[in-house]
Amino acid sequence: MDNPIRVLVGKVGLDGHDRGVKVVASALRDAGMEVIYSGLHQTPENVVRAAIEEDVDVVAISILSGAHMTLFPRILELLNGKGRDDVLLCGGGIIPEKDREELMKLGVGNLFGPGTPTTEIVAYLEKEIAARRGK
């Protein structure tokens, strides 16, 4: 029986900076995960639709536009609305500490800032998903 971690990786909203998200997507692939890359300029609705159809364990969103306080809660709300509150929503980008804390309080997972080693992201996802599947 085969059960790789499936991750939807993408960018939401009007933000065309995709170098970082591609580096992360490649790192997760190299860690043995199945990475669904959604591409740029996704709507939260689009992301959640893909997350459901692909039955992912993780939705990882990159936001560098400053719209994180709108987009993360919206995605969370849509996932919950579809009964997929078990999906780990996490991400990265330029996100101030205060906002980060607030988002984590809402139920968003880790948000990684610039300069984070990809090994740290991989280790976080592996640990988090193992714990969730173990339940």
């Binding site: 692939r29 043995g32 890359y37 459901i52 039955d55 579809k82």
Partner: protein, 308 residues
């Protein structure tokens, strides 16, 4: 679709992972399959398969069809990880339950599909889809599993796909029921299409069908009515000739064989003493006293009652 999208997606994961319960699920689903018409899209990397599929989905949906898509991309043979990027091209899907797209990693299968792609198509079929489109990994000349998994196989090529000698080779060019020459605005597109037509005229017709060649640009979306018409006439041909029913029997036959093969293999390697015998044989081979051929022969004779 009637059913629950979350449940459908979960069922796909269950089947794909070969989790306990997958066989029971497929057993229950099977009687509800057979409604969906299955179209395979294959061709070399970069030919425009995903763009074509995404456009085709839109056109079929506009025509009132519920459409399921299974898009396969390769898994790494080293890490088993995969980057599934076909959704990038699927940006303008109708936002409703008439369209369902699933990405699959090939997970060690080398035929251009994943081992469980056919079963995932069954789930879409049973969920009420009218059309199921299978997009293969970007293939070379010999990843041809798709032809046995669908009703109409479309081979997508581009003007740069090669000269007539490439088109004469065995493999990919033999499985197309339809050929699409994509990127029709490029130099040599017309000549490529005519070259394929010439080649096809010289080949023996499979199922009494001479493949159609459609020259189009998936990006611009022109000539899709022509493509839809070509698919429809191939379908009518299969229905009239009885080949459609035959295909279902053939699929069932190969599924049964695969399941039995897998079961026997698993049973054999779980037999007491087999692995110990293998280790012993390996020591002997290392010492120069045996070969893999005689070792296999001995092991088979010993553990299957001499049916080697």
């Amino acid at each position: 679709m009637g059913g629950d999208r979350v449940a459908l997606a979960r069922a796909m994961t269950l089947v794909e992972n070969g989790s306990p319960g997958a066989a029971d699920l497929l057993d229950r689903v099977y009687p509800r399959t057979g409604h969906a018409y299955r179209i395979g899209i294959t061709g070399p990397p970069g030919a425009g398969k995903s763009t074509l599929v995404s456009r085709l989905v839109g056109e079929l949906w506009k025509g009132g069809s519920k459409v399921g898509v299974v898009a396969v991309d390769p898994s790494s043979p080293f890490t088993r990880g995969a980057l599934l990027g076909d959704r990038v091209r699927f940006q303008d899907l109708p936002d409703n339950s008439d369209v369902f797209v699933r990405s699959m990693a090939s997970r060690g299968s080398s035929g251009g599909l994943a081992f469980k792609t056919g079963e995932v198509c069954d789930l879409l079929d049973a969920a009420g889809m009218d059309t199921v489109i299978v997009e293969t990994v970007g293939v070379g000349q010999s990843e041809l599993d798709v032809a046995a998994a669908v009703h109409t196989t479309i081979v997508v090529l581009v003007p740069e796909s090669g000269d007539e000698v490439q088109a004469m080779k065995a493999g990919l060019m033999e499985i197309g029921d339809l050929f699409v020459v994509n990127k029709s605005d490029r130099l040599g597109a017309e000549r490529m299409a005519r070259g394929i037509e010439d080649m096809l005229r010289l080949s023996p017709a499979r199922h009494d069908w001479i493949p159609t060649v459609v020259l189009l640009s998936a990006l611009r979306g022109d000539r899709f009515p022509e493509l839809l018409e070509a698919i429809e006439s191939h379908r009518s041909h299969l229905e009239e000739s009885g080949d459609l029913a035959e295909l279902k029997t053939e699929t069932a036959r190969s599924r049964i064989r695969d399941l039995i093969d897998a079961c026997i293999r698993q049973q054999f390697w779980a037999t007491d003493g087999v692995n110990e015998q293998l280790d012993k044989a390996l020591e002997l081979i290392a010492a120069g006293g045996s070969s893999p051929y005689s070792a296999a022969d001995e092991i088979i004779k010993k553990f299957t009652g001499g049916r080697g």
